[in-house]
């Protein structure tokens, strides 16, 4: 199981803040997760389109598409941060 989180503009566009993804052996990296989510089409296709800037954290550490994931990880997608 992968614990998915979505924040801010993404959360609103996807109409969900969190979900769990069944873990399957091909989900070896962040990019594999992105491919699975894009496959859902509609808002998912738009949010993860190549021209969109989406940041990703695995287990609460900023990372990138090539980062490995494993069963039980927490993976969060969000727009560029605007705090402070």
């Amino acid at each position: 199981m992968i614990h998915m989180l979505y924040f801010a503009r993404l959360r609103e566009a996807l109409q969900t803040g969190s979900e769990t993804l069944d873990y399957t052996p091909e989900l070896t990296s962040v990019s594999a997760i992105v491919e699975r989510l894009k496959g859902r089409g509609d808002a998912w296709g738009e949010v993860f389109a190549d021209d969109q800037t989406v940041l990703v954290a695995v287990n609460q550490e900023m990372c990138d598409l090539s980062t490995a994931v494993k069963d039980g990880d927490e993976v969060a997608f969000f727009p560029p941060v605007t705090g402070g």
Binding site: F7, A8, Q60, E61, V81, T82, G84
Partner: protein
């Protein structure tokens, strides 16, 4: 020696600075950055803002930023307080206070922490204007400010 807080309640700027400086006579300099909500952004009047964050990761990201500052400069204390939830013009949003023996280190570390926070800590601002709600876009100048600090 260092302290990080995320809270919805207002914070007491004076109490934080007093607590940081008052018991350590080795401190010669305290530099404080206060970020407060403006009533105008991108030319539009903003009545309310809501700050969302990623609980858990926010604290880790701020801890990493503070640890990095402590490794780069000789410091005698850092305080980072960031509000979340609804905010109005003139409300303080974020405080970064840094104490050290001499002022150069305190200035550099304070600016480093706020520059990094603005690009690395998972906070997002949503503004309420007369035309409705909108998410604030990341500022390119924040990215530029943060790049200054990259180790080359």
């Amino acid at each position: 020696m260092n302290q990080i807080k995320i809270q919805t309640e207002p914070f007491d700027l004076a109490a934080i600075q007093e607590e940081l400086r008052r018991d350590n006579p080795a401190i010669g300099a305290v530099v404080t950055f206060l970020g407060q909500m403006r009533d105008i952004n991108e030319g539009d009047r903003v009545s309310t803002m809501t700050l969302e964050h990623y609980p858990g990761m926010t604290e880790k990201a701020l801890q990493a930023i503070v640890d990095e500052a402590g490794a780069r400069w000789q410091l005698l204390g850092i305080r980072v307080i960031h509000r979340v939830g609804p905010l109005h013009p003139l409300d303080p949003i974020v405080l970064v206070a840094v104490a050290s023996a001499h002022r150069g280190e305190a200035f550099q570390a304070c600016e480093f922490v706020i520059d990094y926070l603005k690009t690395r800590a998972p906070f997002w601002k949503k503004e309420q204007t007369a035309e409705g709600e909108r998410w604030v876009d990341a500022r390119h100048s924040d990215d530029a400010a943060e790049r200054r600090w990259k180790r080359s």
